[in-house]
Symmetry: C2
Subunit: 328 residues, 2 copies
């Protein structure tokens, strides 16, 4: 069956769509009540709140799909404030002609990712627009922050060490390969990163900043952190951002993995003395097996510098034009 | 200037767009920090959470625009749980070719509506897709609910009286007129309804249910309430849903105002003994001057009945096909 504008009209067809797809898969008492807003417990005095829209094409790609992305992107943003993600909203914009089966596949994937990330989809909305069968998903998320947790892009300090939770660019390269019909084995890294954040915070590693490395890549994230904290970030000459396959893909196409988007990678700034411990914790955590140390923080103007092996220094700017559109 | 895909790429052009449009107009300390998620106070133990996407065309219409709609729709949904709206997220999906000036006009209108409704836009996201200059806005909202407040579609009880806060169909008729290039003086009713909800709850009117009367119209809302509470709703034979101009518009086009969408109208179910007091409060509240009593609740199978002046009884079903697409 194909989606028609009547599925967004507020009448019986919309009610059927909501029942047979959204409630069927996301089912929980709060959502099922179909109230204008979900009524929820607030178990802490501080909450984190974020939103993201997902417009990726193709909708399904090696390693993930728009549904998994829509959950992981928002969950990871909450984690980056040291929050425990708890509730998600889901706003669907469907283009006329979308296959119901395609929608349902994305919705099932959202549910699986939400279960993995420990969040419930508690409120939603559906609209139908003209078009050619596309699907856009917005999620907003709420997480709760324990007293004493203070993770912020403003908290980088000289002496901090920068870690990344894995290789750069796999998501970006997977999407690009799908769109360009390039055959390879690169898969998206799309994943919820609850495990590594929980592990870092629970053993008392002095985590100063966490950042999800998405659009714009690590180069852009580091520039934002340097700017927010007024410090200089130095990338290590031995830091190799990409795995062999993605590096090869980048070499052929003239891309730089430092500017490529990811959907399951964290940039972590910790007190220098805690760097080794943080590295071990990341490597022992789910999705963190390829974590590494990427650089250090020192006093200086807010820039990102790369010291090459030959001893030269190069400034790494934020992304200036555009990465691949629609990677998230 | 026109929006290009580079404005959504995560690089410097996007940073400029965010700074020159979103931060400039929405400016507050939380949003300006540009963190992955906003960190916020939770001043009560219960929160309300909701989301809505807005895909209306035209973007600007008599009485409102997509920006005002995007704030009012979500604020009103929070109010319908008896919550005090506090925080909004804003997710923008821009089609390539959108005029920057058009975007800015919508953003300015969002800010004005947010100020009127007492909410801050604390987190956001921007994506750019291919297209022909369209604009879609998702908002999610958080409000807080005081202890003892219990407003739910499940709470209708026999003896309750149903009030509506004003005339039906003005928003729907205004959008339809714009799209069909019909000249008249009908304006959308798009408005945040904080004042009437605050006034009803603060004087202790026994409010059982509140519902925003949007897509599907009053007929659909009443059917949903009847269904959720397992009661029969009887519309009064003297209840006249529309004002003269909208009724005339409906008569000419063969439309029924009971099925037309609104963006600033509440359906209120109160304990029968509080009905007159509730009516006075609604009429004295902002946007409630045309409030009236629409019907009563009695035991019976979950249906909506209209007793005509001649004494006959007719079942009023929920909307079955589609209303005008894209009214919200």
């Amino acid at each position: 069956m194909k989606i028609t504008t009547a599925h967004g009209g507020g009448g019986k067809l919309m009610e059927e769509l909501i029942g047979s797809v959204f409630l069927r898969h996301f089912s929980n008492d709060t959502l099922n009540a179909l109230e204008d807003a979900a009524l929820l417990d607030a178990p802490a005095k501080k909450l984190a709140f974020t939103t993201d829209s997902f417009v990726v094409t193709p909708l399904f790609f090696p390693g993930g799909d728009i549904g998994r992305l829509a959950v992981c992107g928002t969950v990871n943003d909450l984690l980056c404030r040291g929050a425990t993600p708890k509730y998600l909203s889901a706003g669907f914009i469907l283009e006329e002609g979308l296959d119901l089966e395609t929608l349902e596949r994305a919705v099932r994937s959202m549910k699986a990712a939400a279960d993995e990330a420990g969040v419930a989809i508690v409120t939603g909305d559906t609209k139908v627009i003209e078009g050619k069968g596309g699907l856009y998903i917005n999620t907003a998320g709420i997480g709760f922050v324990e007293e004493g947790v203070n993770v912020s892009a403003k908290n980088l300090a000289p002496g901090d060490v920068i870690l990344v939770s894995g290789h750069m660019g796999n998501h970006h390269a997977a999407i690009l390969s799908s769109r360009m019909h390039i055959q390879n084995h690169i898969a998206s890294d799309c994943a919820p990163l609850n495990d590594m954040v929980k592990n870092l915070l629970s053993v008392g590693v002095r985590v100063h900043a966490l950042r999800d490395i998405t659009r714009g890549g690590l180069a852009t994230v580091l520039n934002e952190l340097a700017q927010s904290s007024g410090v200089c970030v130095e990338l290590s000459p031995v830091y190799a951002p990409a795995d062999l396959q993605v590096q090869g893909f980048c070499d052929i196409l003239g891309l730089d993995p430092l500017y490529m988007g990811n959907e399951g990678k964290l940039c972590v700034a910790v007190h220098g003395a805690d760097a080794q411990k943080a590295l071990e914790i990341l490597r022992a955590s789910r999705y963190g097996e390829n974590a590494s140390i990427a650089g250090t923080v020192r006093e200086g103007s807010p820039t990102v510098l790369l010291k090459t092996r030959s001893g030269a220094t190069r400034a790494i700017d934020a992304l200036s034009g555009e990465g691949l559109p629609r990677i998230c």
